[in-house]
């Protein structure tokens, strides 16, 4: 790449091997129109930091970058949304929605409604375990913490999700609708 650092093909391999997984990570958390920007920043970071990506832990490292990129974008959009809200307060006949106002919610199910009631950090550790199917050690890389901390956080998040699911079902807040089924996923 002109003006950049040579990567001896490692970046290209990284991109080819993991773009689908990183794309899926983003798709699970973002609306479709927000994914390109995040993907671009994730792999730009990967390209610039190619020599620092731990061998054997490339995907968790990329997930960790994606997580931070998404968090940064949410913060930026949140600020803009507050500004928009103030403007809309003066012009109540117009409505505008932010694509980052909430977690992506294209599918619905009691478990997802329950998940949405948890703190963002609880949601993320549960998603990394269930959706990205990461090990404790891999989640620790994504979150930049220790396996010990992840295990503790995951245990507490599972208990909170159990309670939230029970509460959601009891309150009948949602009606179950068909959701995609993951085929042959490992436990």
């Amino acid at each position: 790449v002109a003006g950049g650092m040579p990567t001896d093909g490692r970046f290209e391999s990284l991109y080819d091997e993991y773009r689908a997984a990183v794309g899926a990570y983003c798709r699970r958390r973002l609306p479709r129109d927000a994914i390109d920007d995040v993907m671009a920043e994730v792999f730009e970071t990967g390209w610039r930091r190619i020599d620092h990506i731990p061998v054997g832990a490339e995907l968790p490292w990329l997930y960790g970058v994606a997580r931070n990129v998404i968090a940064n974008q949410r913060r930026g959009v949140s600020r803009r949304t507050r500004l928009v809200s103030r403007l809309l307060a003066r012009t109540p006949d117009r409505r505008q929605e932010s694509t980052f106002d909430s977690e992506w919610s294209g599918a619905t199910a009691p478990i997802l409604d329950a998940l949405a009631t948890l703190a963002p950090s609880d949601q993320e550790v549960l998603r990394l375990r269930a959706w990205e199917e990461l090990t404790i050690t891999e989640i620790a890389i994504v979150l930049g913490t220790t396996a010990h901390a992840v295990e503790m956080r995951l245990s507490r998040a599972k208990r909170r999700l159990e309670r939230a699911l029970e509460s959601t079902k009891q309150n009948g807040l949602t009606e179950a609708t068909p959701t995609p089924i993951a085929k042959g996923t490992a436990s």
Binding site: V1, A2, G3, G4, M5, A20, A21, G23, A24, R27, R28, I35, D36, M39, A40, F43, E44, T45, W47, R48, H52, A57, W61, G64, N72, W104, G106, A107, I111, A119, P120, S121, D122, L126, R127, A130, W131, I136, T137, A140, L143, G144, T145, T146, A147, H148, A149, E151, M152, S155, R156, K158, R159, E162, L165, T179, P180, A182, K183, T185
Partner: protein, 364 residues
């Protein structure tokens, strides 16, 4: 007991983008990516905020001193924070010398110089615990609590019933015993067991009904003479239960309250006890206390958010602890090392287990 729902399994079934379909969701065009990279130059790479995103500070809205501190940590340096009992977020000095990036864990971290030395020991292992004499390692490998020589050779899995919880097991001061907390059905952690290394004999030392507690991790460790195990216990299953520190003989028996309204107990070799005072939950115990045998106490450190995971160095010269709301983003966690006698504290960029009073073993 009610049938437990496997929420992870349910969540997995509700995955909006199953991994088998991930290829269908690759939206980024190669042309777009090339365009992004073309605008990036070598000069960009040298900026301090080009640290890995997981370590990148959020500059906007941060006090300058805190941002400088984080920048120094990113660069591999150490940050000296207040040692006078004030809040830990005040930064007095910061060293921002650029050093080589961290090797992948496990590695040794010299807390005085920030030097990191890669270790090539046991593979696929976590939660390393060096023995008090430094000759052996305790760790979890493939889910089994195991012991090996310090160079990683001679791995022996400890034969335990039910499988231990994935938490730090602790050596006794003489290295002859290990205390660990077993996993309960349903994924939460259960009672405490002491394992004798030489004989393999296993003794259940507590018989607690932990379903009544909000916080299941008991954080056990040994007394200096190795005859007792100390741990904390939540008083109930509420979100702000309060905690007490308990002690139980290694041979088992009735636990006794050692310190009321306290958590995260760890003994110094001289018999003084370090603990977090008055935590209603794991997010608000903000004072680390050191108590002498005569009952007198002094504040060792304070933090804005709850102090937890207290860890005493083998010689008792330093205490490592973590601050930050455990329910909040873990990126906000801060790891500190405080000198017991002077109260001087340093902030580290990662947590580890003590090898000696100057060195931490940082594991994956």
């Amino acid at each position: 007991m009610n049938e437990r729902i496997d929420v992870i399994d349910e969540l997995r079934r509700a995955n909006p983008v199953p991994n088998e379909q991930a290829d269908e969701f690759t939206y980024l065009s190669a042309a777009r990516l090339r365009g992004e990279l073309r605008g990036t130059t070598d000069a960009t790479v040298t900026r301090i905020d080009d640290a890995p995103s997981s370590r990148r500070p959020t500059w906007r809205g941060w006090p300058l001193a805190r941002a400088a501190a984080v920048a120094a940590v990113i660069a591999g340096g150490l940050v000296v924070v207040t040692g006078d009992g004030e809040r830990n977020t005040r930064v007095e000095t910061a060293t921002a010398s650029v050093s080589e990036p961290s090797p992948p864990p496990p590695y040794l971290l010299d807390v005085d110089t920030g030097e990191r030395t890669a270790l090539n020991i046991v593979e696929n292992a976590v939660e390393f615990q060096p023995s008090p004499d430094g000759t052996r390692l305790l760790f979890y490998q493939d889910g089994a609590l195991s012991i090996a020589d310090a160079d990683g050779s001679g791995v022996v899995a400890i034969d335990v019933q039910g499988g231990p919880e994935w938490r730090p097991a602790r050596w006794s001061p003489d290295g002859t015993r290990i205390v660990y907390q077993e996993k309960m059905e349903g994924g939460n952690v259960g009672n405490l067991f002491v394992h004798e290394v030489a004989t393999g004999r296993r003794t259940q030392v507590t018989h607690l009904d932990l379903t009544t507690a909000d916080w299941f991790w008991l954080a056990p460790s040994f007394s200096p003479d190795g005859q007792d195990v100390v741990f904390h216990l939540a008083r109930d299953a509420s979100s702000e239960p309060g905690f007490d520190v308990w002690s139980v003989p290694v041979t088992g028996g009735d636990p006794e309250v050692l310190v009321e309204d306290a958590a995260w107990p760890r003994y110094l070799p001289d018999g003084r006890l370090v603990y977090v005072a008055s935590p209603r939950s794991m997010r608000d115990g903000d004072t680390l206390v050191i108590a002498a045998a005569d009952g007198s106490t002094r504040t060792l450190a304070e933090a804005v958010n709850g102090i937890r995971r207290v860890n005493v160095s083998p010689g008792g010269a330093r205490v490592e602890y973590v601050t930050g709301d455990p329910d909040d983003n873990q990126d906000d966690d801060r790891v500190y090392v405080v000198a017991v006698e002077s109260g001087e504290a340093s902030m580290l960029d990662i947590e580890g287990e003590w090898v000696d009073d100057h060195t931490l073993l940082v594991g994956p």
